[in-house]
Amino acid sequence: MDKIGGRRDKPGGVGKEAGMTAGGLVLLLEKLIGRMAACPSDDVLSRLEEMQKQETEENAAAIYGCMFKNLEISRSTGRPFCQDTGILHFYVKAGASFGLLGGLNEILVNAAQSASASVPLRPNAIMPFTDKNTGNNIGPCSPYIHWEITDGDAAEITVYMAGGGSSLPGFARVLTPSQGYGAIEDLVADTVRTAGVNSCPPLIVGVGIGPSMDIAAELSKKALLRDCGSKNPEANARAMEERLFERLNNMKLGPGGTGGSESVLAVNVEAAVHHPATLAMAVSFGCWATRKGILVIDGDGTAKVLSHSGFNAD
């Protein structure tokens, strides 16, 4: 395991012996991004395997076959299983005493830039207004970094590759409370039904609820990144997840959106308070091979990847 934080008095070198430097964390993130591009996270993979086993339609079964063949080629070659390696997002939950906190922004940008060259990732950052590709995935808000500062000295970094197909049907609206939670479910269902086929089903559907559009949208992404098999601990949110899961699967979009027995890998709902006058909702989609990586760096400096079993963080 890599050591982060300790023994920084000893200069030079990266790795166990010398303690991890900023450069060491860049390398670790670069390696994780490479793995994410070639292999979905464990939770997504196991739910996909379950859906493949349950598929009864012949055409849909053939598409699942193609998906797993695709993943097998990527596993053996290390090449990205989807050419759209997206816009890189980093969701950082860092303790205020985390040793590398001060330089973390630079570490994340460097990791995005070096992974773009080494994996390689497709250059996807297009400058606003001039519409010129920056060529290295770096630009204003790219990579996108979301900060959450907590107590303690550990850090959790969730990496997400947001592809265009998944991002395109994103939807948000501010409702009045009298329109109610049923209206939120109808909007989610309509978005999945009319635009979901372009996001490479079976989908992960993240729903956010809050007082304004931005908060709902942020929560919809948080919901999307939750574990595929997880349930919201709050009973009403969980009930909405279950209702939507059943409703969306009943549409039978199938793998690739060309028809099948089911539609979604998961429906996750995250809710904040809302204002007496507003009930905002947003929905974010993840594709059948949603690329998410979770790296935890403990206070004692141990680095561990939670999303991909068998990942060697050394």
Binding site: C66, N70, S74, Q83, R193, N198, C200, T258
Partner: protein
């Protein structure tokens, strides 16, 4: 039905295809997305190669520079609907007979497919490693100034597929029928609820 076609794909061959058929393609395929379609149809620039019977693949691949040129590492389909604005005009002017992408397309493309004898097919979304394994050679890159995803990559493919015929040249539209079905499925379930 399953078909194995060689490019250039003629109108006669395309007229045999029906929505729901599966096709594997060998020969030359070009990639083209939003900006390339715009350049061809609105800005009226020409790539300098004949596209008569050459399949147009909605794809922005990851290409790696090699000693001899470029290698396609990852090359899955992108959302075809984004090209709806340009596709009918593109089919009319280029003489292509086969459009490939993911998801459905709209009524203008559907009408152009019937009028000019062309089809739209769907490659399984996200299966970019499978697609890349069918690409044997990068023959040329045109309009490279548009950037890696948007450039026109001229590729030699073998048994490129499976491609599901979505819009055929006889009025069939697989995804439109499916979209109707999904709506009915939801309405039925909600009615029962």
């Amino acid at each position: 039905m399953e078909y194995h076609l060689k490019t250039p794909i003629t109108r006669e061959e395309v007229l045999k295809l029906r929505s729901g058929d599966t096709v594997y393609i060998s020969g030359t395929v070009i990639t083209l997305r939003d900006d390339g379609h715009k350049r061809y149809t609105e800005e009226k620039e020409r790539p300098g190669i004949s596209l008569e019977g050459i399949p147009v693949y909605h794809c922005g691949p990851i290409m790696k520079r090699t000693a001899g040129g470029y290698e396609a590492l990852s090359a899955g389909p992108t959302t075809s609907m984004r090209m709806e604005k340009y596709e009918a005009d593109f089919i009319r002017r280029s003489g292509t007979t086969f459009i490939i992408g993911k998801g459905g397309m709209g009524p203008k493309t559907q009408e152009a497919c019937v009028r000019y004898g062309a089809v739209h097919g769907i490659f399984p979304g996200g299966c970019a490693a499978v697609a890349a394994s069918c690409i044997k050679e990068t023959q040329q890159v045109i309009w490279e100034d548009l950037g890696m995803p948007e450039a026109m990559w001229v590729l030699r493919v073998e048994e490129f597929g499976p491609v599901l015929v979505n819009i055929d040249a006889c009025g069939g539209d697989y995804m439109s029928a499916k979209m109707k079905e999904y709506k009915e499925n939801d309405a039925k379930a909600q009615g029962k609820g």
